[in-house]
């Protein structure tokens, strides 16, 4: 059996080696043809048993007697297969269709047969701490949802005045925006550099350009493979070169071609160069404009929103909003794909089901409130929480890792406290207790989940080969 290391030499399909190297060394995934139809071929290797043993459905685990029969049958067949192949050696069989070969059509060459088959090629064993770190995304979102709900209950029970809530959150938003603005500035500088590099490389002849582009555009690669979790700061992945994306993410290369169009179908981030103001200022002005617009629109709409579902009974309102919140949490785009400077992905991001669900929930809830100001503030708050805050979070996660952790911790504490307050009915001791409890619980949950996931990973068995559709690797548009 040829060792797998020989593969890149003679395999037409270049599959990245690095990710799967570990697994490969543990078990060389070479197959004899008969493994295909003797489903009960004995498992080789500890981590991953015979691919077809599991890949061919659960019929694999037969009785030990069957196993034995299969085993000896297989041995016999390998024997006489060898005999037969040695008997007719009329030139080596080539895996080509356009040459007339002196072998029958159903000849199976057991040296080349299925030698491109790989099991779990991109399996990267998760490290515990990275998992924990990545799970903070979920934690953050859940926490923010919890906080929102608690704020609503507070407002609903007239314990918190909506104005204060909105005030705090708005000030937070403004702060966040200023930060974001600063970051954007940095990124542009980085990007300018990158683009110059690209331009220079493209001038040169193609082959080198490809390589240089690859080298130059590593960060952009990650962006392009949008929607991949763990893509960011994943050293292994980024070093792996093109085509890497964790097997879990089914969103890669999605037929709607979201990543593809991300490249060239967005309004250019900067206005026309002719205007006097610098693009950054224009952008700021635009943002402020839209903020004011939303503010006024909400102000105008809030009376209608207030009476929108007044006639609906409360319990159904609770049910609806609970469902919508669930949808929000479920469909939230946790893979913070668009990292730096991908305004596109950031702008596209809220156009997702989850945000709509959350906003709808807030509007539905708003009809329970007593006065128009309540409604207005709640809706505004929800926009800030569900529309803007995620963008900020993702950005933060990009920019500084530590800040991200801090933020998530703060959120956890706040959420716990909020729950405590809400449950206990506004006693601050309860808040502290709740926060402590909540944070402990969440940390525990994170740990357990990460362990569980790592444990689950050994059941992972995906078969890859030249047959499954290749993932197109497309660079960012360089217009």
């Amino acid at each position: 059996m040829t060792p797998y290391e020989g593969l890149p030499a003679k395999s037409p399909a270049k599959f990245p080696v690095s990710g799967s190297r570990k697994a490969q060394i543990l078990d060389p995934s070479r197959l004899a043809p008969e493994d295909a139809f003797y489903a009960q071929s004995p498992p080789r290797g500890r981590r991953a048993p015979s691919p077809l043993g599991l890949g061919l459905g659960v019929g694999g685990n037969g009785t030990p007697k069957a196993k034995g029969r299969a085993g000896e049958a297989r041995r016999k067949r390998t024997k006489d297969r060898g005999r037969s192949s040695s008997r007719r050696r009329k030139g080596a069989w080539k895996k080509l269709l356009w040459v007339k070969q002196s072998y029958p059509d159903n000849y199976t060459d057991e040296y080349t047969f299925l030698d491109h088959l790989q099991r779990n090629p991109r399996l990267q064993p998760y490290e515990f701490w990275r998992l924990v770190a990545d799970s903070t995304v979920i934690v953050q979102h859940v926490c923010s949802v919890i906080i929102f709900v608690c704020c609503f209950t507070g407002i609903f029970q007239e314990r918190v005045s909506p104005v204060t809530v909105v005030g705090w959150s708005s000030s937070g938003t403004v702060l966040g925006w200023i930060l974001w603005d600063f970051w954007v500035g940095q990124e542009e500088r980085a990007q300018k550099m990158v683009e110059e590099a690209e331009a220079s490389s493209i001038e040169g002849e193609d082959g080198s350009s490809a390589s240089s582009a690859t080298s130059a555009s590593v960060p952009m690669r990650e962006k392009d493979a949008v929607g991949i979790p763990y893509a960011n700061g994943n050293a292994a992945a980024s070093s792996g070169g093109p085509g890497i994306s964790p097997g879990i993410s089914l969103a890669v290369g999605h037929p709607t071609g979201a990543p593809t169009f991300a490249s060239y179908s967005h309004l250019p981030p900067y206005g026309d160069q002719t205007s006097s103001l610098s693009p950054r200022t224009q952008q700021r002005i635009a943002t402020i404009k839209s903020a004011i617009l939303i503010y006024c629109a909400l102000l105008g709409l809030s009376p209608i929103l207030k009476s929108l579902t007044k006639s609906t009974t409360s319990d159904s309102i609770w049910a609806i909003s609970a469902w919508l919140m669930g949808i929000n949490v479920a469909f939230f785009d946790y893979g913070g794909g668009g990292g730096a400077n991908s305004d596109v992905t950031r702008y596209r991001f809220p156009a997702s089901l989850s945000t709509n669900a959350a906003l709808m929930a807030s509007t539905v809830l708003a009809s329970r409130l007593s006065s128009t100001t309540h409604v207005f503030s709640l809706t505004l708050f929800s926009i800030e929480v569900f529309g803007l805050f995620p963008v900020f979070r993702r950005h933060l996660r990009h920019v500084s890792w530590r800040a991200n952790t801090v933020l998530s911790f703060l959120l956890v504490v706040a959420a716990g406290g909020a729950i405590g307050v809400t449950v206990s009915g506004g006693r601050w001791t309860a808040a502290i207790v709740g926060s402590v409890l909540g944070s402990m619980l969440i940390v525990l949950a994170m740990g357990i989940c990460s362990w569980w996931l790592i444990g689950l990973q050994k059941y992972k068995n995906e078969i890859h080969g030249p047959w499954d559709p290749a993932r197109p690797i497309i660079r960012r548009r360089w217009d």
Partner: protein
Amino acid sequence: MHPFSILTVGIFVAGYTTARWDLVTRLYELAIFAWDHDVFTRAVKGFAGVSIIFLAIVYPVSRIASREIVLHPRTGAGGISAREQLKRRGNGLMRIFWPSDAPSSPNPGVLVGWRNSDLDVLVVAILQDTRSVENAIRVGNLFRSSPYPIHRILERCGKSSLQVLGSVNPVVAPTTFNPASITCYTSPRSRFPHLFCPDTKEVMVQVILFDRPHPTRMQYISLAPISLALGDKADKSGKGFPPLDGVEAAEEREWERKQALVEKLKQHTVVRHSRAQKELLLPVIVDQINCSYELNALLQSNIGLIGTRSRRALSVGEHIVESASNLWDLILAWLWYIATEYIWPLQSRLFVFALIAHRAAGEVLLRILDWRLFPGHAALKDVSATAQQVDIRLQQFCYWPIQYLTLRKRKQTWQSITNSHPEYIRFYNSLWLVANDVIIGIALGSYIIENATFVAAQVDKILTAYTIQGLQATIIWLMDWPAGLKLNTELATFLGDLFLWVIDYWAGCMAMLRPYLPGIIHFIGFSSFAGATMPISLFSDLVSLLTLHIYSFYVAAARIYNWQLTIIISLFHLFRGKKRNVLRNRIDSCDYDLDQLLLGTILFTLLFFLLPTVFVFYACFAVARMVVIGIKAGLDTALACLNHFPLFALMLRFKDSRRLPGGIMFELRDVGNEKFPTVEQREGSAPTSFIHLKSVPLPLRAMLNEYFQLGNRISKHYVSPGVILCLITGRFVPPIHRKNLYSLQYSMLPKQRVGIYELWARVTEKDAKVGDGAYDLGLVNGGFGGNGYVGGGSGNDGYGHRRKGSGNGVGRVRVGRG
């Protein structure tokens, strides 16, 4: 002999003898003398000898001669013998069409008829007179005193003149078979004749027995079923009316697809057989059969005259006697002359004036009804049922004279020429329908007038109950959470108040109208003396007037609903990160700003939660609208039934089904050979098949065909997915256009009515040139179509089409009748 005269003769004889006694004695002596010189014996011997000679020689010779005459008549085609004709044509199929009412008595006769090809004969008459029929035909004696010129009927029957085909039951049996003069034997036992053609194996005989249709009873047979509708409605009515032209287009496409398939099938036909002449002759033969009755009658009437010399001139005395006997007739004739010369023209002229005046009035009205503000807009008759009804009636009135003229032309020629029978049926059908209509109308009208107040009260009650109070109740119900639906209270109250307010206003109008209601009902009642269709159409108009508010509600609600739906859909696109590209009419992927998305979300939520409220109102009014449309459709159908029910045709169908031919059918009869008189004929008979040709009456399905068309047209209009989609998306559902509904009713009218001048010309022309009535009608229309109503013509309107296309439309008429 009379006894008296015997007595007188006796007295005379006695007196004479006594007067001339000496002469008697002389004779006596002479007799004694002759006896003495045995004169008597010699005389007797001589007589005996002569008679013996006669018996021995003269009589046989004369018999032989007569037989020879019978055997070899001097016919023109007699030159070729049967054999070589058959050789010339391969094996032959002898086809004999034999009238079923031909005498089947065994006495001899001559077959007269058409010889379409020399093995294809059609027997018209069997003349008992065996002598010189042929000359008589050639000279034309047999056609003497025919009511109408004979050539017309002959040229209708394929230009070939009658001739002697052979003989029936000849005294002397022929020896060979000669297709030029066939010999048939009839026996009282079977209606089928038996052709004598021995020992010719190549010949096969088809004896086809046909029942002569009775032309004076207007019976006839035809290959294609009679068409009760005028054939010139080729253009599909109702083009360009949104839901229906979809239907029409679909039909059109299906038709074209099938047509393409048919073309392909033509290519796939492998062996294409050339049409034999016999087969091509079938239509001609049908005509001949149609004509055979009259010709037979003519021949039979004239057969007595054959051979008798023409009457000698009368002597003076006889003249006097005749004149004396005819004096009374003379007076009568003179009176008749007076009448025809002075009174009748006066009357007819008056009548014609009346007719033309009526026609002109009708013309004016029709123009008014057909007047359009802008070309392409709806004319008056498209809007109101009453106008439509009046229009139909007027058009019928305008068409009747023409029809009548056509029928009179029919009287002026042979009855066998059957082109105008559908015209006749149509004419009387419309007469009958109008009569019916009026009768029913009188009953209805009298009822309505008698208790007008009651009817008015009823109408008023129903109207208020359903269109006002019912609606109010429904709206109020909708305003507070109907059926547990949690609508948005504010919006519901707003809409409800709005509609309620309008309804109140409308109720006020109704209240103002109420006192006049009995008057209106009275008017309707009176109008119904012009036929039951009048009140119905009036009522339908009344309904559409009194439910105006529902209509407006429907339109308004539909507008709001549709608008909201569109906005929601576009917002939905916004969520999917797409947008509708109006230029390319497709969905593009597009990226929005954050604020756009947030606002979009909120608006979406807003509209989404408001949608049910609006929808409920819309649905309510849409249902009401549909009900109204349904009522009107029902009324329109009733109108169609009253206007177009093929009453007359149905009665004909049950009275004399042969007047409505729906095609022909053949029945294979197996007539055993034992039916045939004598043994030598049986053994000498070629293989013969006996077929009975019958006329199939028109099936009821074909008569009521228009009704089925109407039915599926309405259903297609209102049950089509397009309309349902309109209902769901809140777009406006147009009611079915009158033209689509009424195209049925115009199907018995020409699409181009004859103009006044034309009518004048045709009425006043003296002896109508005899011929194909419909043909002339077609010509007239064609001639008139050019300078007709180009002024009133409107662009995309169906009638406009008709006027413009009337020229070729008339062409189609001709084809249809041909």
